[in-house]
């Protein structure tokens, strides 16, 4: 298969040589299954599985030392790039709040730029666009879902998916599946119910909405459960997997007794109806802002001798979970760093929150901190080694809440004391760490990418992009990018050359092996 794909690409490229190389692929259908062509990166996570593992093997542990800059693209924005660029038909699409760029993936030159400044809604980040049949889907800080023509960035339609005046905002990369565009919302400074919505990819009309919690004002009930990170999808089961955010009020649990379902949970929803098939509480009765929105990574494989369809999450609250994704049953729960807020886990693998560690008027020392043991930066699953690789953040903080803080929105205060960054390779069968690699005081915001050749790409706290040996975590290559990374690396192949894509600050970097002289050097 691969040979024919390459052969076809080569033949067609030859036909159109000197012309736009990407025209040849106009008929390419963006991946609608977990099986995508490894050259492309058509969704936020690369594919629907959330593994962020690429089958590209041109860059190897043996030659990665020669990796060099192919090009850089300067957005001239103060906002850091937090998006993962999509790569479809030779064009990259990426974002910061209020902005989208389309960039030639070969040369790094800009094709078009969409910019519509907004002053309302939280501008905390923008994680990218989705694409379907040549149309892009983009969320703005003030709750608009905009569909644009991927060719030139012109707007097709613009619909509102939440109410910015109530305190919602949107930052995520939508997930396009079939004729559905799945959008989630953010907003935990107010007591608002989170929800996930499916929108018709052609018209922007609402198809369904799933609510994380009962409506605001329901007695003894929680609000919250925002859905601000892109989830994953299993085409065989036709299920969407989504992580939900913290309950509100955030730091006080008094007005919301119980587990606060489905906040801080992983939920499985029917793609066509939005109906809940199962839900799993990752942080019952959270009082520390530990959104469970980290990627629900889908892996098929052996678990303790049995073939399983699994879902794995390294969660912000410090626990690593392996679930059976057909039914939501727990297979494994372990800690992947310092955690001091629980009394252990119950028989179904749910952590049991320690009431003595809820925020208090005179303060409680809590591990991890509000940013969590990990966060939106993406992990990666490497199938060859069975390693779940995550950028962890061992940390301590103090949490306060008193009656005078009320029961609305934040309802308390918390302060980080100390933290550091550690890339951890978790054996998914046991939860044990096979290797760790420190990436600096304070911690790093970089996600992780693994490739079939045995490489792990990520970034440190200082602004270095790192290539590690997946088998042992040793550094094989690095380059300073000038500012720390707040995005997750990706990779694509174009005209026979594999590119590694990273960003720091407002700059996008494409790395590749040298086109000339490299063989000379490597055989020397």
């Amino acid at each position: 298969m691969k040979f024919w794909k390459h052969a076809l690409a080569f033949a067609t490229t030859a036909l159109f040589s000197g012309f736009c190389h990407f025209l040849i692929a106009q008929n390419h259908q963006p991946a609608n299954t977990t099986q995508r062509s490894p050259e492309n990166w058509p969704t936020y996570h690369g594919d629907y599985s959330g593994r962020r593992h690429s089958q590209l093997t041109q860059i190897t542990p043996q030659n990665v030392a020669y990796l060099t800059l192919a090009w850089a693209f300067q957005t001239n924005q103060t906002a850091a790039i937090k998006s993962t660029p999509l790569l479809v038909d030779g064009i990259l699409y990426f974002t910061v709040p209020d902005n989208i760029w389309a960039v030639d993936a070969l040369s790094g030159h800009m094709l078009w730029h969409y910019n519509k400044p907004t002053s309302d809604g939280d501008h905390i980040g923008q994680r990218g666009v989705a694409i379907n049949k040549g149309w892009l889907y983009f969320l703005t800080p003030n709750c608009h879902l905009i569909s644009l023509n991927a060719k030139d960035g012109t707007v097709r339609w613009d619909v509102t998916v939440c109410d910015v005046k109530k305190g919602y905002w949107t930052t995520m990369a939508p997930l396009a599946v079939g004729n559905h565009v799945i959008v989630g919302v953010g907003g935990d400074m107010d007591n608002l119910a989170g929800y996930l919505r499916s929108v018709d990819s052609e018209t922007g009309a609402e198809q369904w909405q799933w609510d994380s919690t009962p409506p605001t004002g329901t007695p003894n009930s929680t609000t919250g459960g925002m859905t601000w990170m892109t989830g994953t999808y299993d085409p065989e089961l036709n299920l969407l997997y989504w992580g939900t955010g913290n309950p509100t009020p955030v730091l006080s649990g008094k007005t919301r007794p119980g587990d606060n379902l489905y906040t801080c949970s992983i939920v499985a929803l029917d793609l066509d109806t939005g109906k809940l098939v199962w839900g799993y509480s990752v942080s019952p009765h959270d009082t520390h802002d530990w959104d469970a929105v980290e990627t629900p990574v889908l892996v098929d494989g052996d678990f303790h001798g049995q073939p399983r369809k699994m879902l794995m999450q390294a969660s912000r609250n410090g626990y690593f979970f392996v679930l059976d994704r057909t039914n939501g049953k727990n297979l494994l729960t372990t800690q992947f760093g310092p955690v001091n807020w629980s009394l252990g886990v119950d028989k179904d693998g749910h952590p049991i929150p320690n009431p003595a560690k809820e925020p208090a008027p005179d303060g409680r020392l809590i591990a991890p901190d509000e940013g969590g043991l990990t966060n939106f930066r993406a992990p990666s699953f490497d199938p060859k080694t069975g390693l779940f690789i995550v950028n962890a953040h061992p940390s301590y903080s103090i949490y306060f809440a008193k009656p005078a803080d009320g029961y609305y929105g934040w309802a308390g205060a918390d302060y980080g004391l100390w933290g550091k960054g550690v890339i951890e390779a978790i054996d998914y069968q046991t939860g044990k760490l096979r290797w760790t690699h420190e990436v600096g005081q304070g911690g790093s915001g970089a996600g992780v990418l693994t490739t079939d050749s045995g490489l792990t790409f990520t970034g440190d706290a200082h602004g270095n992009v790192l290539a590690l040996d997946t088998s042992n975590g040793k550094t094989l290559w690095h380059a300073g990018m000038g500012a720390p990374m707040f995005s997750s690396p990706s990779t694509y192949e174009l005209d026979g050359r594999q590119y590694l894509m990273t960003s720091s600050g407002g700059v996008l970097f494409a790395w590749a092996l040298p086109e000339t002289g490299y063989k000379l050097v490597s055989t020397h």
Binding site: N76, M189, G363, L365, A401, Y408, W418, H478
Partner: protein, 344 residues
């Protein structure tokens, strides 16, 4: 002043170059005045609007409004800022003088009465409007703090100011040492601002992050804290109540003292680097990643080496604070805090 840093860097990068208008300088007649105004507006649209908005309204939180810029800066100061740039804001040094004069006039002659008490029946509402235009960029839309300005709703100065005179003093004179600029407001305007900030400080503000008062941190036992300090806590291995910590409670209080106690962020580490030829260099650790080690020597001079070429050892006493995290109970922390608060 940080609010001006971003001015127009976009304009530069998208390739706008100041254009020369071949118009001779002469006394401003009415029509020339109008021409100058339109030139200023044109210049603004060309160089500034992309960041500061078509109507000078700014694009919060990234780009400050310039609507009331003349309240903080004289025309000469505006010109200097545009000419020389500041921080990330680029210099428009090649702007022709005539265009500059028009631009500055355009920026400085905004309708200063709009949105003040003159145009509103409600004084606090007018203060809100004024606040959003002049203060919100640093202090947050709700006055509860932003990236570069403190939370005014918990400010001691605000809470202890009964008639607005303290707020007035700060607003009129600025706090140059803290980068707070001085503003030129009328008495009515200052009063309306004061009422708005007070309103924010005393009303129950929905949603926002709260704070910690000194009185919250008084639940510990002094004797138990002293015992912990000298005993199992191990604090006395490095610290002394009559030495480095003498008077610590006079230098820090409340949350700040507790944060310092748990992890002193600014603590320095010593590093000794042994070079290939065997000589050593010692100094304060200034930079460390996997690949590079940097230090400042006794003269304050920075040196760095690739870690592959040298050997180094780091003496980092603050690491003991990190090790302590997993050993503390919350009670230990409260007791220790009670004890440290006696060291005045």
């Amino acid at each position: 002043m940080k609010r001006f840093h971003i001015l127009a860097f976009l304009a530069v990068t998208v390739g706008f170059v100041p254009t020369f208008h071949n118009v001779g300088w002469c006394q401003a007649t009415a029509s020339e005045q109008a021409h100058s105004n339109s030139m200023g507006a044109q210049s603004y649209a060309q160089h500034c609007a992309i960041c500061h908005g078509d109507q000078k309204q700014g694009i919060l939180p990234g780009f400050p409004p310039l609507l009331d810029v003349s309240r903080q800066l004289t025309q000469q100061q505006i010109e200097n800022l545009v000419r020389t740039g500041k921080g990330r804001m680029p210099a428009f040094s090649k702007l022709p003088q005539e265009e500059m004069t028009s631009l500055v006039r355009f920026l400085a002659t905004d309708d200063l009465t709009a949105g003040t008490s003159m145009g509103s029946s409600n004084v606090a509402e007018a203060g809100n409007h004024l606040f959003q235009r002049n203060c919100a960029f640093c202090h947050g839309r709700d006055a509860a703090g932003g990236e570069s300005g403190p939370d005014l709703t918990r400010s001691k100065l605000v809470l202890s100011d009964t008639n607005g005179s303290k707020v007035e003093d700060v607003v009129r004179n600025g706090r140059p040492e803290k980068k707070m600029p001085a503003f030129n407001f009328s008495n009515e305007e200052i009063h309306s601002l004061f009422l708005y900030i007070r309103h924010q400080a005393t009303s129950s503000r929905p949603g926002g992050r709260r704070g910690v008062d000194v009185s919250d941190l008084q639940t510990g036992n002094v004797d138990a804290g002293k015992q912990y300090f000298n005993g199992v806590g191990g604090c006395a291995k490095c610290h002394s109540a009559t030495g480095d910590l003498a008077g610590i409670a006079s230098r820090f209080e409340g949350l700040q003292l507790e944060e310092q106690m748990l992890y002193p962020r600014n603590a320095k580490s010593k590093v000794t680097v042994t070079l290939a030829k065997g000589q050593t260099v010692t100094g304060l650790l200034a930079y460390r990643d996997e690949f590079t080690i940097g230090l400042r020597d006794v003269d304050g001079v920075y040196h760095s080496w690739p870690v592959s070429r040298i050997r180094y050892t780091i003496d980092s006493p603050v690491d003991a604070h990190v090790e302590q995290f997993s050993k503390y109970t919350d009670e230990d922390i409260h007791n220790l805090m009670a004890y440290l608060q006696t060291l005045r």
